[in-house]
């Protein structure tokens, strides 16, 4: 027969329920919106409890507090507004429905973002500090202005990162040589395809939604993701070997449309810049910490984590593709490499 689920006593349940629900829907809103507040819709493809989601949340809080409620950020997470490219198409095509977005720096590549493309070249950043040397430099400011200068109609506010991306596989791997003959799922960008070919593996197109099943059935032997995404998408269940090659550091940035930017007063614009700085610092403080915590959890769950002693052969494998893709940008490339 039909039985009710084992529920604790009704009273505390209802209280607890209201609390959690309130927490989930209305993120801590210490600031009451001003009567004439400007609402900026901000898109995020990941859930709020990820490194990037938390960074957005911090940015939202900072903006709302610093502007005394005259700017409200309507943060729509978990990709409800579409994939990164959908969101960019909306923002760049003058959609008006999305004002801001957190994107991976790489996403701007297909919209003429040559400088941003450099940030996601394999093995360009050798450590976190290396990246942050860049992110806090004047060069970063120049990079952030690139889309606006290109006439794309958006501008960057600040940089952050969501950790290094690594390869993971279904079957046991030991080192770079283990990849020979494997089918690896990477995004459809030519540079990542070049990297995979450089490893002696074949790049295979599988849409992200089918990736779990593709790993489970063996359509592909492996894929690559940042550590946090690897765990949150339950990939360890089907591909429990991860090699920490850190091919790219997931550089992220928050962008705003020129249209929204110009709606703001100079004061409000400064608020966004300052809030961005704070969010960027916050991002730096949590990303390494959170990534290490996830790494420990993965180890505890029985995932085999393989350290890479010498990164040189990996760098060698991808050299031809990089040279091919940085034509005309060699100076910037060198500047970035030298920032370590």
């Amino acid at each position: 027969g039909v039985t009710a689920p084992e529920a604790p006593a009704a009273e505390p349940v209802a209280e607890q329920k209201e609390e959690t629900a309130a927490e989930q829907t209305k993120a801590p809103e210490a600031v009451t919106p001003a009567a004439d507040a400007i609402t900026l819709v901000m898109a995020e493809v990941n859930p709020l409890d990820t490194i990037v989601g938390m960074t957005d949340q911090k940015f939202k809080e900072e903006v709302e507090a610093r502007s005394n409620g005259s700017i409200i950020i309507d943060l729509q997470a978990s990709g409800v507004l579409g994939s990164e490219n959908d969101v960019l198409d909306t923002m760049l095509g003058g959609g008006g429905t999305i004002d801001m977005s957190r994107i991976s720096a790489f996403a701007l590549t297909s919209y003429g973002g040559q400088k941003s493309m450099l940030l996601s070249l394999p093995y360009i950043f050798t450590s976190r500090d290396h990246f942050w040397n860049f992110a806090t430099s004047d060069l970063a400011q120049e990079f952030l202005q690139e889309p606006s200068e290109n006439g794309s109609g958006v501008r960057g506010l600040f940089y952050g990162e969501e950790g290094f991306r690594h390869f993971f596989t279904v079957n046991e791997i030991k080192d770079i040589n283990s990849f020979k003959g494997m089918k690896l799922r990477v995004s459809n960008d030519p540079i990542m395809n070049g990297l995979v070919e450089g490893l002696g593996a074949s790049p295979t197109v599988v849409s992200f939604g089918e990736l779990y099943s593709a790993l489970q059935t063996g359509v592909v032997d492996g894929a690559e993701q940042p550590i946090a995404n690897y765990k949150s998408n339950a990939f360890p269940e089907v591909a429990p070997y991860m090699i920490l090659d850190g091919h790219t550091l997931g550089a992220i940035q928050v962008i705003i449309t020129d249209e929204a930017w110009n709606k703001l007063s100079a004061e409000q614009q400064q608020v966004l810049v300052d809030a961005g700085k704070a969010a960027s610092e916050y991002n730096r403080s949590i990303s390494e910490e959170k990534e290490n915590a996830v790494l420990e959890e993965l180890k505890a769950d029985g995932v085999t984590i393989i350290e890479v002693e010498d990164i040189t052969p990996w760098q060698e494998a991808v050299k031809p593709v990089i040279e091919e893709n940085i034509k005309g940008l060699e100076d910037y490339y060198q500047k970035l490499v030298d920032m370590k």
């Binding site: 039909v2 039985t3 009710a4 689920p5 084992e6 529920a7 604790p8 009704a10 009273e11 349940v13 209802a14 607890q16 329920k17 209201e18 959690t20 629900a21 989930q24 829907t25 819709v41 859930p47 709020l48 409890d49 729509q76 978990s78 990709g79 409800v80 507004l81 579409g82 959908d86 198409d89 909306t90 095509g93 003058g94 959609g95 008006g96 429905t97 599988v206 849409s207 939604g209 089918e210 779990y212 099943s213 593709a214 489970q216 059935t217 063996g218 359509v219 765990k231 949150s232 998408n233 339950a234 269940e237 089907v238």
Partner: protein, 431 residues
């Protein structure tokens, strides 16, 4: 009334009015979204962007491919052989073909993981088959679309992957395991429903079962059956993904039709493609324009509003559980599955766990609720595909589906109040 709720009202009311004024649904959905955007003072570029985005999903490609496969199998003589085999196998049973349809979806829909793909593939073969044997077309379509929801529950199911992510890292493996029994329960419930209806409508009973006849037909349909085997083995064995299997199935059915059964020559194939395009012309545009509508609902925070409406309404756990289902069913009527899962999970899951529902069990509930939503007017992708593939008017299908909605609701209630149905396998195997 706030500006947002006025916009929502404009969206929903204008849509319903247009439907009753006999507007073509594909365009009514776009027009009401345009009204809503204009009211909000937003540029109409959203329309263009969402229309393209709506059809730009790779897993959706299984639908046109499977519909093409069905057309080719139909005119190439493959379906004919499968009909004869099914007749020899279950023709003696009351409602035998309905049972075949339901069981086939458990396995085949399980592979594709998509109710739309399942209806497109099995529907375009099985509906003509059932009609051929004397079943009413609306009943055949109703059985097809409702049983296609089994595919959402039986792994692999990419909607479960979406849920796992939005629920904050629930084990996909456990969710997959949890789906087997609910899928079977749904199949059983639909079988009982079809049996009763078949009995009442005196649906055909063929000749008595003869092992000889069965053996003969099995031999004749070897190549036809191999199509199914190729898809299943290819996907399970990791040769290709579920979506890709659809394209491979087209190529295979083409080869068998042209070179082995010789029911088609190349000219015939070209002609058959016209049928495919005719069916696709109705289905794809609906999926495309519905996505503008869904986008408007999303940006207007409709799922959040709906979920918040039930918070604090009652403290009775049973009522809360029922309300959770109700919210999901209502959202399912107007929105597609993936956006509901993405938006509603973070809001509803804490409520569900607070009354003792396990996140895995809740995942199964959400999937079935949204699955029912795919079959309901005014916006229901699987209903539209079924109606197009079966060539039956939508409202006729809805009417014939009424008893099956009831079967599904019964299963939903069982899943809500008996956690063991979902949790038994994961508890047993994922320790």
């Amino acid at each position: 009334m706030t500006a947002n709720s006025t916009a929502i009202a404009i969206l929903l009311i204008s849509f319903l009015v247009m439907i009753f004024l006999r507007f073509q649904i594909a365009y009514a959905v776009a027009l009401s979204s345009i009204l809503c955007l204009l009211y909000q003072g937003l540029p109409l570029t959203t329309v263009c962007q969402q229309m393209v985005k709506g059809i730009s999903s790779f897993s959706l490609m299984a639908v046109p491919f499977f519909i093409t496969m069905g057309c080719i199998m139909g005119s190439g003589g493959i379906s004919e052989k499968l009909i004869a085999l099914a007749d020899a196998c279950v023709g003696w049973m009351t409602g035998g073909m309905a049972m075949v349809n339901i069981v086939a979806s458990y396995f085949f829909g399980g592979i594709s993981g998509s109710a739309a793909a399942d209806t497109a593939s099995l529907g375009s073969i099985l509906i003509p088959m059932m009609v051929d044997q004397g079943y009413d077309d609306d009943f055949s379509t109703a059985v097809t679309i409702t049983s296609s929801c089994e595919g959402l529950l039986v792994p692999p199911s990419h909607n479960m992957v979406i849920y796992a992510m939005s629920a904050g890292g629930v084990s996909v493996g456990s969710l997959f395991l949890a789906g087997y029994i609910p899928g079977a329960l749904l199949a059983a419930s639909l079988m009982i429903g079809s049996y009763i209806i078949s009995k009442r409508r005196h649906y055909p009973k063929g000749e008595a079962f003869s092992i000889k006849k069965f053996g003969k037909q099995l031999g004749i349909s070897f190549w036809a059956l191999a199509a199914v085997v190729i898809v299943v083995v290819g996907v399970v064995g990791g040769l290709f993904t579920a979506t890709e299997s659809a394209a491979v199935a087209v190529i295979y059915s083409l080869i068998v039709s042209v070179f082995i059964y010789r029911g088609l020559d190349l000219k015939g194939v070209w002609k058959t493609l016209e049928q495919c395009v005719d069916t696709l012309s109705i289905v794809l545009i609906l999926i495309s324009t519905s996505s503008i509508f869904g986008y408007c609902l999303t940006t207007l925070h409709v799922p959040d509003l709906a979920a918040n409406a039930i918070i604090g309404l009652t403290r009775n756990p049973i009522l809360i559980a029922l309300l959770l289902n109700l919210i999901l069913l209502v959202l399912g009527c107007i929105m597609d599955m993936a956006p509901i899962i993405l938006i509603a999970t973070p809001i509803l899951l804490p409520i569900a766990t607070s009354i003792g529902i396990n996140p895995i069990q809740f995942g199964i509930m959400i999937i079935l609720n949204c699955g029912i939503g795919l079959l309901t007017p005014p916006v229901g992708a699987v209903l539209f595909i079924g109606s197009a593939v079966g060539k039956v008017k939508m409202e006729k299908v809805v009417k014939a589906t009424l008893p099956f909605y009831l079967c599904m609701i019964v299963v939903l209630l069982l899943l809500t109040f008996i956690p063991e149905i979902s949790m038994f396998l994961p508890n047993l195997l994922m320790k």
